[in-house]
Symmetry: C2
Subunit: 404 residues, 2 copies
């Protein structure tokens, strides 16, 4: 049972062991930001559905403007104005123009707009144009933004404000998104008290329930804190039974050596296959337990908050995103490390750091202090990855960076 | 009134015109993620408040271990076990050891922990140790994470999950944060219909109310959509009167040339100083109106969604963050641009792009299409900045990148 895997092996095993959930739900557009799209979105009709002006000016037939110059303006008969939000009331014949505002609908005959700056009104509705325009100039043609049937958003896309905008444009006010996974969070340890309690000698306040809830919510999932469970197999068993309705269970702690064994044993008791591995060759976060029972994932993270956080970021977050079918949109960042860092070969290290820009480059300043101090992840804004096959990295070397 | 400013001048004018708000409110720790801290946070007592073991093993006096080796183990009398969450019941005399688990409280006399892996139990509570430890080894001393009085979080800090963790550790379950600015969003234009309506010829669905609400919420502010106002001065005046209780007002649209003038005029009518500028030398987003009345900011963004979004990101977002006193934690990114891009000198350009990692570098692929197509910002994940004094950038050149 005590197989120690590499980070890559562990992640692969976790993602392979749990199927992407297919449950979907409709949400109102105004509540859809940050949710993961579950259905493709295509334009049902051309967007825009009519040719529109992108300037204030006059709708014309481009051919009528050819040769127009300051010295020899082209003259147009202005037949009226196109009102915003209305169909043009007047058809356009050669030599004619209609006033139009930005966003106005062009008459069928018109294929260009001349900017008001290039015109002058003479008497009796006669407009003089001093510059020629090409067909298509200063307009958006029908379907230029999206053609009917054209896909614009795809399942797995995590909705951003501009995506909300395009959904509004397409009239899709009810959006089908992946259901949020419901995550139960349990802290275990005889030494833990709630954050609002005053710890006695030997006791400390529970950090992980609150920190992990916040991380879980940042992944689009719902977190429920199930409180602090003492280091007792019966208590842990009872706590796990109360999580039957959840999609993912995160335990952390298990402070005594015996208690850590209870965690694995209690997961195994729940059903098959049970614990898949116990331990990952990484620092911090080595004593990580992962199990699956009836397709549902169980994580046993370290009681140490920094270790629990690294375990969460490397393993739980990708799984919660996979459970929603979410696809990552932004590239992985890299930065140059300020100074030499040593590591042990065979182990992946995550070093807390301060990331900053210097000229064209991103640099990372490692933050000193033991991995089990929470202050180091609070003072940092990034984790640097030292790969498993390396005994360290040299000053100026480029490393992968995880924003925290 | 129609002064056209540079982007830098406009931003400076906006940020100087509106004071940071000083209103604060308490929120429960579980609801504090993403909020901006309004008070400094310091440790009220040492964290941890007692020396703790970082390993499973035995608490010892380091001096007793000197010289211990495989060939010549040091022998200890194991006097009992330190229970998690309890004060040690037994004081430690030279030559004595106490079993301890990770996180356990060391007795006052102990200054190191020996790992269980380096020990062997002989008969009669005698433990043989085959490796020496230095003072401080495998322990965290009292106050090593934070000393009493030491500051860890500062006003303006936007709270992340690990910050929630350290607040839990310090027992600060009620957090004083900046009040969220309340933002009223108004779309104007005779051509606009609600997203759930079927537009008639010449009409389009309102994109900006929904997209800007989503952007506003992403800045930690509260967005209220005040609907669509027709291009009428009276309607706009009435709408502005309904926003008296808000901290910031964002108008967008004003589709006809006349309607854009109403916006400025109606802001001026409200009080002093009124409109500060109208127009910024940028693309997209040039026709931007900014005004202040009685210290409250009013933005008139373009009706075109892409222009409105760029105006929001460059000017409204920094102001909403300033109103919360928020400090930026992550550095500005830069990327190399895939191909030559032309621009006009004297104007700042924001080009929609797809950002990706290639080896150690970030690259950006510009997305073609007019600035007024919403599909281009949906297909992109970044905006590239071409500075005002440049006529373009060359393939391979490094440019500033704004994630979208």
């Amino acid at each position: 049972m005590l197989t120690v895997l590499s980070v890559a092996e562990a992640k692969e095993k976790i993602l392979a062991a749990v199927q992407a959930r297919t449950e979907q739900e409709p949400v109102l557009l105004a509540a859809a930001t940050g949710r993961t799209l579950a259905q493709p979105v295509a334009a049902e009709e051309d967007l825009p559905s009519f040719a529109r002006s992108t300037m204030d000016g006059f709708a014309v037939i481009a051919q009528d403007t050819y040769g127009a110059s300051e010295a020899m303006p082209a003259l147009f008969d202005v037949r009226g104005e196109i009102l915003m939000g209305r169909e043009p009331e007047t058809a356009l014949a050669p030599g004619e123009a209609l006033r139009i505002s930005t966003g106005g609908m062009l008459p069928t005959e018109s294929d260009a707009v001349v900017m008001v700056e290039h015109t002058e009104m003479l008497g009796g509705n006669i407009m003089a144009l001093n510059r020629a325009v090409a067909p298509g100039e200063n307009i958006i043609v029908r379907g230029e933004d999206l053609r009917a049937g054209e896909g614009i958003l795809f399942p797995g896309h995590v909705l951003r404000p501009q995506d909300i905008g395009v959904l509004a444009a397409l009239g899709q006010t009810l959006v089908t998104v992946a259901k949020r996974p419901r995550v139960a969070i349990i802290s275990t340890g005889d030494e833990l008290v709630m954050p609002d309690a005053v710890p006695k000698a030997g006791q400390i306040r529970d950090i992980n329930s609150f920190m992990l809830s916040s991380w879980v919510e940042s992944c689009g999932a719902v977190a429920d804190r199930h409180g602090i469970i003492p280091d007792s197999k019966d208590a842990l068993r009872a706590a796990l039974q109360r999580t039957a309705a959840y999609d993912c269970i995160i335990l952390s702690g298990g402070s005594s050596a015996g208690a850590r064994d209870y965690t694995a044993a209690c997961i195994d008791e729940l059903g098959k296959p049970g614990v898949l591995f116990h331990g990952v060759s990484m620092r911090p976060g080595k004593p990580l337990i992962f199990g699956v029972v009836n397709g549902k994932p169980y994580f046993g993270l370290s009681g140490n908050p920094t270790s629990a956080m690294v375990g969460f970021l490397l393993f739980v977050r990708p799984l919660l995103r996979q459970m929603q079918g979410a696809i990552t949109l932004l590239p992985l960042l890299r930065a140059k490390v300020e100074r030499n860092l040593s590591s042990a070969s065979g182990r992946e290290d995550y070093i807390r750091a301060w990331l900053y820009a210097e000229g064209d480059e991103l640099w990372a300043r490692p933050i000193l202090g033991q991995a089990n101090l929470i202050s180091t992840v609070v003072r940092g804004n990034a984790l640097l990855r030292i790969p498993q096959n390396r005994e360290g990295v040299e000053a100026g070397e480029s490393v992968e960076v995880l924003l925290i």
